[in-house]
């Protein structure tokens, strides 16, 4: 089931870190990882990326793999460079106080699909 990012932010108890970027995005699924190579290898387009990493590479990875938004878990806030790239590339950043497992569980319960690909594409 597709979900709107606005509703995902509510479930994530999230704060939007990128003012000015539209959050009414249609999200098709989610993928969790801290290993960016895994994200590049095993994800599908139009998903939201859930991660604990906050460096600029996260946004670049999301951009290359066609993610629509990024949620940082455990209330993490990224450095300024990360925010600058996100705004430039139009990828909303959200900070959630929840842990990765808790957040994933809630989103999965709400009907969001796994967009992690186990290499069997």
């Amino acid at each position: 089931m597709n979900m709107n990012l606005t509703d995902i932010i509510t479930i994530a108890e999230g704060t939007v870190l990128t003012p000015g970027l539209a959050t009414g995005l249609n999200i098709h699924g989610a993928c969790c990882a801290d290993l960016m190579s895994d994200v590049l290898a095993y994800s599908r387009p139009r998903a939201v990326l859930i991660t604990g990493l906050t460096n600029p590479q996260v946004v670049r990875t999301a951009q290359m793999a066609d993610f629509r938004a990024i949620i940082f878990v455990r209330g993490k806030h990224p450095q300024q460079e990360t925010m600058d790239i996100a705004i430039q590339e139009n990828i909303p950043l959200i900070s959630s106080p929840l842990g990765m497992f808790e957040l994933s569980g809630r989103l999965h319960d709400a009907g969001l699909k796994s967009y992690e690909n186990n290499g069997a594409d």
Binding site: G24, L25, L35, S37, L40, A41, L53, Q57, M64, D66
Partner: protein, 335 residues
């Protein structure tokens, strides 16, 4: 014999043409806009209102003169109710057109706020089967009226804005290969990549991906090239002595990505391509790279990969991606 002409879509599918990617994209976009556009942006703010103390008969004149089916009843900009044609008919049946509007107006109102998303108004229209909704501002005053027509107009304007910004640029770039005639046209983009420049890691790949989209590549092709370029760019940043060059060559039938550097070179290129083999430092691993998956990922994304390396001299990585016919040189342009 008369030349046969290809069937038009109308003839082939009748009125029920299957959804194209383009249609799906636009439906998707409208769904997104309904969350992003606010009621304030699409409502009509110049509105006709009436007072609670005038006779119902005056409302009848107002409705007729303006060709509308209902008006908000307002005192001091506060919304008290709505009086519609139906309410007027009720008064008419009882022969009470001279009674004040207050007696016949509807006071149980469904309203939306100026700062609500259009989605909220759409839901109200569907659930309550209403034709118009009064709009209230932060101070609980009447700010406007919203109808389904206003919403449609808002969508069309927003889609037009979208179209103008990116599509025009893309339209120009995507005709490059048609407009410039040669026996073999190649567009070459070169990027100098600095060693250790982690904060800018991915900038070149980002430019490459955008260039390909503008040239008419579809999302999937651009994604494959973007991922391959990004892994290769990070390799230059992480592993070289002095950085290197990332080069994109676009031809109508294929895309090549080539990285070159001047060392240190790879001793065992077979081993370097094994999943999980890595020589990266902890610093690199902390950033989410260095899991020994880079070359493996590249291989998955491209049609052909060649790794040539001489220890002490340097490395050359060549990646080739076949472009499906009609992608970059299509007469029909691109979507």
């Amino acid at each position: 014999m008369a030349p046969t002409r290809p069937q038009t879509e109308q003839e082939k599918f009748g009125r029920h043409r299957p959804l194209t990617d383009r249609d799906a994209h636009e439906i998707n976009r409208i769904e997104e806009l309904s969350y992003d556009l606010k009621v304030r942006e699409v409502m009509a703010s110049k509105i006709i209102t009436t007072s609670p103390d005038v006779p119902v008969s005056s409302v009848l004149d107002l409705l007729r003169a303006n060709r509308i089916s209902g008006v908000p009843v307002v005192a001091d900009a506060n919304l008290l109710g709505v009086i519609s044609l139906e309410d007027v008919v009720r008064a008419l049946q009882k022969n009470e057109l001279a009674m004040p509007v207050r007696n016949y107006m509807t006071t149980q109102l469904v309203t939306v706020n100026t700062f609500d998303s259009i989605m909220k108004a759409i839901k109200a229209f569907n659930e309550k089967r209403l034709g118009r909704l009064p709009v209230i501002d932060e101070h609980h005053k009447l700010a406007g009226i919203i109808t389904k027509g206003d919403i449609n107009r808002g969508f069309l304007l927003a889609l037009e804005r979208d179209y103008k910004e990116e599509e025009v640029r893309r339209y120009r770039a995507s005709h490059l290969f048609e407009d410039i005639i040669s026996d073999r046209t190649t567009l070459v983009l070169r990027y100098n990549i600095k060693v250790g420049d982690f904060n800018n890691g991915g900038n070149a790949s980002s430019h490459i991906k955008r260039a390909l989209l503008r040239l008419g590549a579809d999302q999937q092709l651009a994604r494959r090239c973007g991922i391959a370029a990004y892994e290769a760019e990070m390799n230059l940043i992480i592993h070289t002595n002095n950085g290197g060059i990332l080069k994109l060559e676009v031809e109508p039938h294929r895309i090549s990505l080539i990285t070159t550097d001047d060392g240190p070179g790879i001793a065992d290129t077979q081993k370097a391509q094994q999943p999980g083999f890595s020589t990266a430092t902890d610093k690199v691993r902390e950033m989410g790279f260095g899991a020994g998956m880079g070359l493996v990922n590249i291989q998955r994304c491209v049609d052909k990969m060649e790794l040539d390396s001489t220890p002490g001299k340097g490395t050359r990585l060549t990646m080739r991606i076949v472009v499906p016919p009609e992608t970059l040189n299509s007469k029909k342009g691109s979507s």
